[in-house]
């Protein structure tokens, strides 16, 4: 269970600042930020606190349980970003 960032993401990273558990990446100080298509939420770390959803200027963030059908694939997209990172690190 987690929150999910979807295609409307504008990479302004205001969500990164409010996240209490630092689970939104890449952060502006991380190398991948400049070329990231969007930001992603790590579902293993997200605590469902809703803080990111409240500050998102473009309504790109949804609770996974409330994801519209058209955006359902983004749950896997968010999780996949971190799986790929872990694989690259291994």
């Amino acid at each position: 269970m987690a929150y999910v960032i979807t295609r409307a993401c504008c990479n302004d990273a205001v969500c990164v600042e409010v996240c209490p558990v630092d689970c939104i990446h890449p952060r502006p100080d991380e190398p991948g930020y400049a070329i990231a298509e969007q930001l992603y939420i790590d579902p293993a770390t997200c605590i469902d606190c809703n803080a990111c959803l409240e500050v998102c200027p473009v309504e790109a963030i949804h609770r996974d349980a409330d994801l519209p059908a058209a955006l359902a694939a983004y749950a896997a997209v968010n999780a996949g970003f971190f799986a790929a990172e872990a694989e690259a690190a291994a």
Binding site: M1, P20, V21, D22, A44, T45, I47, D48, C49, N50, A51, D64, A65, A86
Partner: protein, 733 residues
Amino acid sequence: MERTVHTYCRICLANCGLEVRVDPEANRVLDIKPDRANPYTWRDFCRKGGTAAEVVEHPRRITRPLRGVGDRYEEATYEEAFADIAARLNAVIERHGPDAVGSYHGNPMGFSFATTTFWTGLLDAIGTGNRFWVGSVDQNNCHVVAEELYGSELVALVPDIDDCDCFLLVGMDPAHSRFNWLENNPGGWNRVQARVRDGADLIVVDPRRSDTAAKARTHLAVVPGQDWALLLGLVKVVLERGWDRPSTAVALDGLDAVRRLAAEADLDDLAARCGIERAVIEDVAQRFATARTAMCVSHTGVAHNEHGTVGEWLSHVLNLLCDRIDRPGGRRYERGYVDMVQVMKLFAPGAEHRTRLRDNPPIVGFHALAELADEITTPGPGQIRAMLIAFGNPVVSGPDGATLDRALGELDLLVAFDLVQRESHRHAHWILPGTHWLEREELSPLLGGLQEQPYVQYAAKAVDPPDGMLEEWAVFAELALAMDRNLFGKPGVNKLLRATRALARATRRPGLAFNPQWVQRLLVALGRRLRWSDIRDHPHGWVYGDKRYGDLAGALTTPGKRVRLAPPALMDACREALAQPPATDERFPLLLINKRVREAMNSWLNESPGLFRAARGNVVELHPDDAAAAGVADGDLVRIVSATSAIELRAAVTDAMRPGVACSPHGWGSRVFDPVGGREPEVFGANRNALVDNARLDRLSQTPAMNSVAVRVEPVAAAAGVAVGHGAAGRAG
């Protein structure tokens, strides 16, 4: 009109601060979010708390006393319920003695001090020693070790995460458990990961590559039930290489005895038992012992095994030998804000009672669930003929549920207290409605000693209970009054109850009637650390001091205030374990383990619609080699067979499993009935605890070996003639 209430979640010990939006007119919760003004728990939260209102508004919630009539239930008044239950309990007591009334309570009661206190009051009124609880399938090993080493069953040592350089985590999965069991570290797992990013070492011991183990620098895929052998190996290496730095925080007795025991053990034998190479044990011992700071923490993966108490003990020995107790970055003693010695004197005087059939003593005042079924079904003086079950689901939480279910069906009287009618309540003659924690306000003083920092929060009430519903403490008091037996078993208490109620009525001041707050306020006053009014003035919770080290020495109640490193009972049990060759059974080649699931809490939230949207239920995880040997593919329906029972689940084939090990979480397969509406029961998953033997126990903790159950797995089509399911139809079945 909306109102915002600040309180905390009482589902698990994380006690996350909550901001609850309420519609007072409709008496409804609108929304639950984490309380960002909580100075202690903010940064932790999960969907269990976020969806808690779904249980308040459960479509099958019981809101009136229900009387069993034939194969259905009828609503009754409290007066009718109290009169009938009291008369039947009195008849049982008069004819067969107080021990003929048994009790069981589950985990949710632990989060309500008011309910716990008055439950004890009712059981004392009855005078029974046949009290059973959920701790006997969970945490008893910790209480036994605390008593043996530190002199009190209630001593807990809290991990001091932020200053730790080396985490040795045994049988736990904080990525899901949130690092809490008998301790609370808000955001604990995220903080461990932050330490690891800063260079700390993380060693995880688990037969399965859990989400926690996947992040470890070293993952030790131990053989289930053999953590004790690994820990003894670590102790041996530390002592023999001279890496020990005995505790500077407490005085130790028995170091030589531990040295002798370690010398008797052979490292290659220990390595073979636990399935971890000798060189790896030596490496981990060195990393743990020579790190600047370190902690060894063991949880349920260790506890729920035949040698679970020995394993827990050895984790303390390892910490004490390396100066990891009550030191920065180790495991700290938090004294809380009540005087535990006083509390024990007031509420838990040493119970002498022993079980009739197996002659076992109680642990923290309660007997083991594993013994309950036999105590009900075996005739003779002291046989249990009536049971009170409060916020518990022992048929699902405990071993061999089918046997216990049959036993409960033989009772003359079964009274259940809960929000819904669960699996264990299907034979109930009476069901009395329970309140939800969002409907109660209270202080739980005993949780103070389990917090990572000096912390307290008064639990506010968000909504009122449904119209006319009594809180549990009041129900228990009414039952004692109706039985005309003194609450708490103390002469004059019922008179005091009646007199203070009369006074409250006459003066129109309800607070003057005896109620649980009297006890809570008394404990705070006796503790002499905090003032009641100051606690109430901090609605978001209050970190009332700085954490400090060194309080354990003063809290020891052992002779000479020295830690008993080598208690004879544990030394003997460890030698027994060493003398016992590892058992194998060709009929049951796999060992079944349990796991934590972030959205689940034992058996009591699995039907909440807001949780588990993707997949509701449990599966059995198998290593590809074991699946192939059994002729099973990913997603197949399989039958899991033990010497005790059989269940059916879908298989998930994954190389995260150690070969020879199967994994399935417990808590599933508990029906929720519809006693008034008569709709079909709801059920998700299957009860894997049904496979567990109720006689193969850790004899020190009296806990079943739920984490090393010998099983075989077979495709469903290939097997025939094995009884599966919930047994014969019961009253509501």
